[in-house]
Amino acid sequence: MKAYSLFRKDWQSELRTRYAINALAMFILVTISVILFSIGTEKISEYLTGGLLWVVIFFSAMSGLSRAFVSEEERGTTLTLQLIAAPSTVFSGKLLFNLVLVFLMNIAITILYSALFESFVIKSFDLFLIAFVLGNFGIAISSTIIAAIISKASSKGTLYPVLSFPILLPLILTLLELTKFAMDGNSIGDSWVEIAVLVCYDVIMLTASYLLFDFIWKD
């Protein structure tokens, strides 16, 4: 409940300041436009569109999700949060905020992408949905803990994608594989190994994040 209250505070703050939403919306539009312009009239392969989808998602996440902690640090309100909530509450609240943002962002990207790229056709929708949901959880968890780490650094902008890349790489590679399977029309049963990898990734990242956050949050 306390974490939900922190999420509500962040959400209300986001609606007023538009720290993350504007950055995310602009990034999504610009990236998809650049891809469209660079392709031109050429017809690209199905697998390539599937890969590009996750490239757009990865970089969009990099442009907006760090705000959860960076905005607190920039406004000097980190201390205020430390004085009103336990570290686990702060992490849960921020994770909830990033989860909502990731789901909204990725739903928008996927709808826009499906409408603009003819060759992006998902034959096994249920498999794609599972990959999409588990992938979003993974991106949100990893982004939140990395945002907490880099918020204390001086070069936040560059450090975020650099630090995120190795951590998100196993997740993105698995998601690419599952998207390919979903495009081929594979069943969930055929892809259980990749799904299990995603579940393990989410569980490990979540556990490690909660264990680590105490040390990151307190000086």
């Binding site: 409940m1 306390k2 209250s5 922190l6 509500r8 505070k9 209300q12 703050s13 007023r16 300041t17 406004r75 000097g76 309100t77 201390l79 205020t80 430390q82 004085l83 009103i84 909530a85 336990a86 570290p87 686990s88 509450t89 609240g93 307190k218 000086d219």
Partner: protein, 211 residues
């Protein structure tokens, strides 16, 4: 009177190769006002932050007890009210919204009687629906006291409490220190003689430096 006590045992702080202070041992209890003095850069704020648990000491141990029960560091925020120049509230929210969110995140009900009293004491009642972005630095400082006292904490730490305040603001702070000092443990870190005149005991951080 609350039964809150704070014990510092041989607390030292070193930043890199610079020793801030060494072997501070103190015993503090509720119903008293304590002062921390020392020149600029002597470590007053550092000691205040260590007591609040915001930073860790390099050596030594700090124990918070309430009704003879040890308070764990993750729960300390429930017992603590802190005011300092480096504390910032949310500029995009009104004063009321700030307090609403803080109470919700703390998991407590808003005590309207208490909050109204504090708004009146700091003469902010007619501005409580304004966003903090439009507040002057003095008004923001007043607001920090309302934030610190909203949940009726047992331990109050005021770091440079009268910075940015006008005479009326200072008077409100002094009244508050006198009131809170009767039941709670109040610690003031300041260089102002008037601020420290309210303290029964004053710790000079300079004395804990070894050159």
């Amino acid at each position: 009177m609350n039964n809150y006590s704070l014990t510092l045992e041989k607390v030292s702080k070193i930043f890199g190769r610079r020793l801030v202070f060494k072997d501070i041992s103190l015993q503090m209890s509720s119903g008293n006002v304590y002062g921390i003095s020392g020149c600029n850069g002597s470590g007053k704020s550092t000691l205040a932050k260590i007591i609040t648990g915001l930073i860790s000491p390099s050596n030594g141990k700090i124990t918070h007890l309430f009704n003879d029960k040890k308070i764990e560091s993750e729960n300390l925020h429930d017992y603590l009210g802190f005011v300092s120049p480096y504390l910032f509230l949310y500029d995009e929210f009104t004063a009321e919204e700030n307090l609403y969110h803080f109470a919700k995140i703390r998991g407590i009900k808003i005590n309207n009687t208490r909050v109204d009293y504090l708004f009146d004491l700091f003469n902010l009642s007619d501005r409580k629906k304004d966003i903090l972005k439009g507040y002057s630095s003095g008004m923001k400082q007043r607001m920090k006291f309302i934030f610190a006292l909203q949940h009726s904490p047992q331990l109050l730490i005021f770091d440079e409490p009268t910075s940015n305040l006008d005479n009326a603001g200072k008077e409100a702070v002094y009244k508050l220190i006198e009131e809170e000092g009767k039941n709670n443990l109040v610690i003031i870190a300041s260089n102002e003689e008037v601020d420290l005149s309210f303290c029964g005991n004053v710790i000079d951080v300079e004395k804990f430096k070894i050159v």
